[in-house]
């Protein structure tokens, strides 16, 4: 009788109760997770059989606070959701609030918000790309990225007075107008940024190790991306051509349609997500370059007589109308009059569609301020992307999804 080799054990490989499978706890304090999130990995050797995310470590009741703070106060909390691009969050929040109250912003405010939101997108993508490369061992790109992010922070500091959490937007406008110095800094950024981008491209795009570790890793097909509600770069890297800046133009994007294109990929893997982010930075650069030379003159806030915006110091201390309006907007039992209605407003932020569902009961604060957090939705896809990959691919996929735990848990 001829010898026969034993058939390979193929049954029940996915069964987590098998003896040869073991469990590894990844996080919540692991340097590669960047923020506080935990993964329970079931491993077969180094291959991941099952990944179960355990979230909630940073849950701090932001949405409950949104029901207690008024529209202007909540902007400080909104800043702290995706703290990598805080100004984009503010824009999204006020898109919803201003849609609810029915405010049409002044052209100048629209342009300033657009420019700063695009700077926030660049800042977010730089961190994501830099940190993703850092996790895969490429430190230099990270340094170049952070050097450029510093300039974005300087612009934020010059305009809002705060670097990290600007809290710059207000209902119907901005806290203050920008100065010529800010415009000069933005022009300088426009001039120097292409070099940074080119440096990162040269460091990573054809980097053998980087490509080996990202190409074909964490693949998400177009159908899966739609079915799992993905948006932003994650969906676009899979071929979903959807960008709210084009599909539902808000702020000044209606005027700037010719200045940018939607960047999409086909592969849906980590490398494609990286390329989409790089492409989006180049497009954002074009938007800023076009917008900064066309900032309209005029007031930055909507008309004071609409009783919607906070009057400036001059009006508050020198006129009775200004003083009364200041009082009306700051007393807890007065503030804005809102329709008894609810509305959803969304912006295309760096991570994807960031929307707010605001329910108002007629008073000056939200009855319900639901956030549609892109990080939360993208992290739900993580187990699907991870199955069958190696444990060393975890940082690559986490980096490419750009999970911000403060937004994930709120």
């Amino acid at each position: 009788m001829p010898l026969q080799t034993a058939a390979p054990v193929t049954e029940d490989v996915a069964g987590a109760d098998q003896e040869f499978l073991y469990t590894l706890n990844f996080g919540p304090q692991h340097p590669a997770t960047h923020t506080t999130l935990r993964l329970i990995l079931t491993l077969d050797g180094e291959t991941i059989v099952k990944a179960v995310p355990d979230i909630g470590y940073l849950h701090s009741g932001f949405e409950k606070l949104g029901e207690d703070l008024d529209f202007n106060q909540y902007v400080t909390i909104v800043d702290r959701m995706n703290y990598i691009s805080p100004f984009a969050n503010e824009c999204a929040w006020f898109t919803a609030v201003e849609k609810l109250i029915g405010i049409e912003l002044t052209p100048r405010c629209k342009y300033i918000r657009t420019i700063l939101a695009e700077l926030a997108r660049i800042s977010d993508h730089l961190l994501c790309v830099g940190a993703a490369a850092l996790d895969l061992g490429a430190l230099t790109a990270f340094l170049y990225a952070f050097n450029a992010r510093e300039k974005v922070y300087n612009i934020m500091e010059s305009s809002a007075g705060q670097r990290f959490h600007p809290s710059y937007a207000r209902v119907g406008g901005l806290m203050a107008d920008i100065s010529d110095d800010v415009v000069a800094q933005i022009r300088d950024f426009v001039k120097t940024f292409p070099k940074v981008l080119a440096d990162i491209v040269r460091l990573l795009n054809r980097n053998r190790i980087f490509i080996d570790r990202t190409k074909g890793i964490g693949v998400l097909t177009k159908e899966e991306a739609i079915n799992w509600s993905c948006s932003g770069p994650v969906a676009r890297a899979s071929g979903v051509v959807r960008d709210l800046r084009k599909d539902e133009p808000y702020l000044a994007y209606g005027d700037l349609q010719g200045a940018f294109k939607v960047v999409c990929g086909k592969g849906g893997d980590c490398y494609n997500r990286y390329l989409v982010r790089m492409g989006e930075m180049a497009e954002s650069h074009k938007i800023i370059a076009a917008a900064v030379e066309n900032i309209p003159a005029g007031p930055v806030n909507v008309d004071l007589n609409d009783k919607l915006t906070i009057p400036d110091k001059q009006a508050t201390y020198r006129s009775i109308e200004g003083l009364i309006q200041h009082f009306e907007l700051f007393m807890w039992n007065r503030r804005w009059e809102t329709p008894v209605e609810e509305v959803y407003g969304a912006n295309e932020t760096a991570n994807g569609e960031l929307g707010y569902y605001v329910v108002a009961d007629g008073g000056g604060k939200a009855f319900r301020a639901r956030t549609r957090p892109p990080s939360f939705i993208h992290f739900a896809v993580f187990p699907l992307m991870m199955e069958g990959h190696q444990i060393s691919d975890v940082p690559a996929v986490l980096g490419s999804l750009n999970i911000i735990a403060a937004e994930l848990d709120r």
Binding site: H59, G61, L100, N227, S229, R242, Y344, E353, Y357
Partner: protein, 167 residues
Amino acid sequence: MPYLDTLKAKFAGAFTTSEFRDNKRVLLSAEKAPTTLFPLLKCLKEECGFDMLAELGGVDYLNYPNATDRYCVVYGLTNTATGERVWVKAFANDPEPELPSVVELWKGADWMEREVYDMYGVRFVGHPDHRRILMPAEFVGYPLRKDYPLRGYGERHNFPTVTRAES
């Protein structure tokens, strides 16, 4: 709005509609929602092209002006081909707020339904992994309900701590 004609032909009398700014809504009352919600969303997905569940969130309408039902789950659907959006609001009431789960239709609903359950206590019948998601498993109560106080019931300052001497 061709989807409205399709819905009217299939679910006549089961829903009402409303509109505010650019949000167009389909409303399902607490009596109709348990039976109508799933087929209605399925019809919107498969026949009207709303292939993406962009948003799923809960609202508690306790003490809201003119509210008739208490809990509401808001489904924001998007047609990725045309960019059209529709909002489906399904209501539920105490003591056992329940709605059918839509994870079968959209995998993205998985975590969002868990979050609504975690925050409002609305159960989703047929959900494959019905657990809390943000709050710890042993947590009692539903924090985003309107009758839950802002500072909680003392979970924070009554939290058992272990001192160095005891450890």
